[in-house]
């Protein structure tokens, strides 16, 4: 087998991916694909993106050896890729900067976005302000309640936040609503999708903007340990931070890649958001991928303590990597994520996002089964300041 080179020309990863949208959007997606290909070839675009990632986002961020928690667990050495130290506090800004620069290049004056936990909304609001564009963020009413501080941040940054009251009032419905807006305003609007899902070219484009995570981590790991890591672990909702870390390692077959989905109240309860672990292939939001659906093809409500993982689908490249056996996908429950959240706070002095805590939960399970000369890289995809109200409320504390 040659080097990994997906998606194919029509945006497919094996049977997954593709472009399943209303006809009105097809020409817009073709225009976007064309503009993106041109931008990728343009040294000026690449130089500006690189400069923005350094000067505005604060890259490169460290690969940090979490020595205390590694020692406590008594197994593999855990390294944290510190995406939480980026401007706006999560990996999401990498992609938001890239897409906003592309929007500007395409002459679009208005950007829209969907958001779950609010991290992508904040990142999009941030770059829209920075590049002088109007910004509207769609957010499920339920998520607005759970993530009020991020809603306020978006408004401080000059974005409008539209509450979505249809369906389950979470991320998937925000995505539906953003697609409806885009269909209506396609001439002047750029839709900044926040994850590696959606119609082609979004999954590939968002991955490319996030691969900087894996590129940096690979070089940093070689520098710090003299060899490649044994294992990569990242949480998977739509899967953008995971694919960003995994992608540059896909051809390094000895490196295990593990995505951790939201196990919610437990996989057996049905109250979770783990389509790769429990779902089956279907078509939603413009691409074919694993979905949580009932036997009649209706999308099921999801549950996760973390709004950012509360999504019934997943990026099509993860679906492919699962079937190809190149990546493994497991789940961590709300309870396991919370325990990992507290453990990292108390051992390393880092408050992780609840999304990220799912990846940590699995790393903490796996590390003790490995040798102390082995290495795990966990993508510390976001910081947990946004989640302190949720965690406090679970402990009966009102902030």
């Amino acid at each position: 087998m040659g080097a990994y080179a997906l998606p194919d020309a029509s945006g497919h990863y094996g049977p997954y991916g593709g472009r399943f949208v209303a006809e009105t959007l097809v020409p817009a997606l073709e225009e976007l694909e064309h503009a993106y290909q041109e931008a990728q070839r343009d040294p000026e675009f690449r130089a500006e993106l690189h400069s923005e990632l350094r000067q505005f986002v604060g890259r490169p961020n460290p690969l940090y050896h979490a020595g205390r928690v590694s020692k406590e667990l008594g197994g593999a050495q855990i390294y944290l890729k510190r995406e939480d130290l980026n401007h706006t506090g999560a990996h999401k800004i990498n992609n938001a900067v890239g897409q906003a620069l592309l929007a500007r290049r395409m002459g679009k004056k208005r950007v829209i976005a969907e958001t779950g936990a609010g991290q992508h909304g904040v990142a999009t609001a941030t770059v829209a302000t920075r590049y002088g564009m109007e910004c509207l963020v769609y957010m499920g009413e339920e998520d607005i309640r759970r993530q009020s501080s991020n809603v306020f941040r978006m408004r401080l940054l000059g974005a409008q936040v539209a509450a979505v009251r249809s369906g389950t009032r979470t991320l998937k419905d925000a995505l539906n609503e953003a697609l409806r807006d885009w269909v209506t305003n396609v001439e002047n609007t750029f839709y900044v999708i926040g994850t590696v899902a959606g119609p082609h070219p979004y999954p590939a484009m968002v991955r490319d903007f996030h691969r900087v995570i894996g590129d940096e981590a690979r070089a940093q790991c070689l520098e710090l340990t003299g060899r490649l890591p044994d294992c990569l672990i990242a949480c998977v909702g739509g899967g953008s931070n995971a694919i960003g870390l995994f992608y540059p390692f896909i051809d390094d077959k000895a490196v295990r890649m593990i995505g951790v989905e939201a196990g919610g109240l437990g996989l057996s309860t049905g109250q979770h958001a783990a389509p790769l672990t429990t779902g089956r292939p279907g078509v939603l939001h413009g691409n074919r991928t694993y979905l949580m659906e009932d036997e009649d093809g209706q999308i099921l409500p999801t549950h996760s303590i973390s709004a950012g993982l509360d999504y019934p689908g997943v990026g099509p490249e993860h679906a492919y990597l699962k079937d190809a056996g190149r990546a493994e996908y497991v789940a961590a429950t709300d309870e396991e994520a919370l325990a990992a959240f507290h453990r990292l706070c108390r051992t390393e002095g880092i408050i992780p996002a609840l999304e990220t805590a799912h990846a940590l939960a699995h790393a903490f399970r796996l590390a003790p089964t490995m040798r102390s000369d082995q290495t795990i890289i966990v993508n510390l995809s976001g910081r947990g300041d946004k989640d302190i109200h949720t965690v406090a409320a679970l402990e009966g504390i009102h902030l």
């Binding site: 472009r19 399943f20 209303a22 006809e23 009105t24 409806r180 269909v183 305003n185 659906e293 009649d296």
Partner: protein, 272 residues
Amino acid sequence: MSRLAGLFAQLQDAGRAALIPFMTAGDPSLTVTVPLMHALVAAGADAIELGMPFSDPMADGPSIQRASERALARGVKLRMVLEWVREFRMTNSHTPIILMGYLNPVEAMGITPFAEAAATAGVDGVILVDLTPEEGRGEAGVLQQHGIDPIFLLAPTSGPERAATVRSMGSGFVYYVSLRGITGATQADWAEVLQRVQDLRQQLGLPVAIGFGIRDAATVAQVAAGADAVVVGSALVDQLAECTTDQEAIAAATRFIEPLVQAVRTTERSGV
């Protein structure tokens, strides 16, 4: 000749456009769906578009979204929709029925079992909003093998090469989305739409139906002058949403559709 081809041939002779109302299967009640279809035909509908409810109808506006949600809450399943068509066919063998929905429920059943069941039930055409011709080659072929027309959409944003793709794959008719937007929106420039549709009818060699944003008799008359069919959806769904009994729904649908039927029957097509 298929029912759809027969209908369009007959209307070509009559020199008028078809009126195609859209209703969501299972809304406003489970029991009213088949009687409502018959009532629409009795009031003068030339064909019926029957919505297959989906949990995430991303191309639909609030009216049809809510109708879908209500229908799903009542337990509507794709097999029930097909069963309703079969029941309708027991006493109506001439009115074309077009199913409209999204790919995932169809894929969950499997395209071949779906096509078999739909053909047996008496379905004439299928519109899957999120299935583009590029992705839908396999599905379109299976539908056609079962005598069902795969109906594709074209939009104001579609260029000539997309029309060519649709021409090579679609049959029955082509659904022209009259505006950049979702179902139920209202801001089409009808003169521009009709000009575009004239061009498309020549290029495609297929009848062209116009839908999205058509809410009243005046608009129906305007659109009917240049189209092979006029689709009215959200406005009817809105009327039905307020009905609390089946009788009320049938009366409301009849009352709503009568002036629209008048409009298509009294509008002569120009430039056709």
